[in-house]
């Protein structure tokens, strides 16, 4: 069984979302639920740490696409950080680097929010 976990914690004026394991059509609803909870709490500054994410398919990528408008319309952003090369390759194939800020390190991404 390929498990998936998502943990969130606050850092300054942002929320860090830490992803672990395998993000596919089976586990994508868990990520959607977490995004939906953040939206309902008005948390729109989001940094996603991919360090422990081993796998992503298009079902997982679709979740980031589903929330980006709502987040940006509320002056927030979804910034992506710490991706393993094989996960980055999937984002890259679909042109995500043109639409999302992708950082090597989550602290760089957090600084962008905290300097605003």
């Amino acid at each position: 069984m390929n498990e998936f976990k998502v943990l969130t914690r606050e850092s300054g004026n942002a929320v860090v979302m830490v992803l672990q394991g395998f993000l596919d059509a089976h586990t994508a609803p868990d990520l959607e639920k977490t995004f939906s909870e953040l939206m309902s709490k008005g948390k729109y500054n989001i940094v996603v740490n991919f360090d422990a994410l081993n796998y992503i398919s298009s079902a997982g990528l679709g979740v980031f696409m589903a929330y980006i408008d709502e987040v940006r319309n509320n002056n927030g952003d979804i910034k992506l950080a710490n991706m393993q090369q094989k996960v980055f390759n999937v984002f890259d194939l679909l042109g995500f680097p043109y639409l999302y800020e992708i950082y090597k390190d989550q602290d760089e991404a957090l600084k962008k929010f905290n300097s605003r």
Binding site: D24, A25, S57, L61, G62, V63, A66, D69, L99
Partner: protein
């Protein structure tokens, strides 16, 4: 140059998303056995996940009581995977290739899976066969990957 091992193997899975981990494990092991490197194995596994996700979501429309078959036929330099289902037939020509900016505006992720499959594999072919549908994916082993 060592010839790659000939492989013929298949598994049947239930049409639920929790089958995907087993599909990936099956394909991952066979692709490694055939001689692909880690990057190619990851790419092939992702393409097959996308094909099976489409079967579960579209051919069976989320119904959990269907089955699909994943068959690996690998010989020479060709690693071929055939995913077969008995659900609603699928016409890939009805799914436009996504424009990522457009998708992003419309909040839709559909079509990304087919786009990825085409990017990751050398051949992606759909065909109806009797009461079933098949998608055939092929990736060729390049010379430098043979041991």
């Amino acid at each position: 140059m060592k010839r790659s091992e000939k492989i013929e193997d298949k598994r049947v899975f239930r049409s639920t998303t929790d089958a995907l981990a087993g599909v990936r494990e099956f394909v991952n092991e066979r692709a490694l056995q055939f001689g692909f490197g880690d990057k190619e194995v990851s790419e092939i596994t992702l393409a097959v996940d996308e094909a099976c996700t489409n079967v579960i979501k579209h051919a069976y429309k989320g119904r959990p009581d269907g089955e699909f078959e994943v068959k690996v036929l690998a010989t020479g330099t060709a690693f071929q995977i055939v995913v077969r289902d008995w659900g609603v037939s699928f016409r890939p020509e009805d799914v436009p290739l996504p424009n990522i900016r457009d998708k992003y505006r419309k909040h839709k992720a559909g079509g990304l899976g087919i786009f990825l499959m085409k990017k990751l594999m050398d051949t992606v072919e759909y065909q109806g066969r009797d009461a079933s549908n098949e998608v055939r994916l092929v990736r060729y082993l390049k010379d430098e990957q043979k041991s």
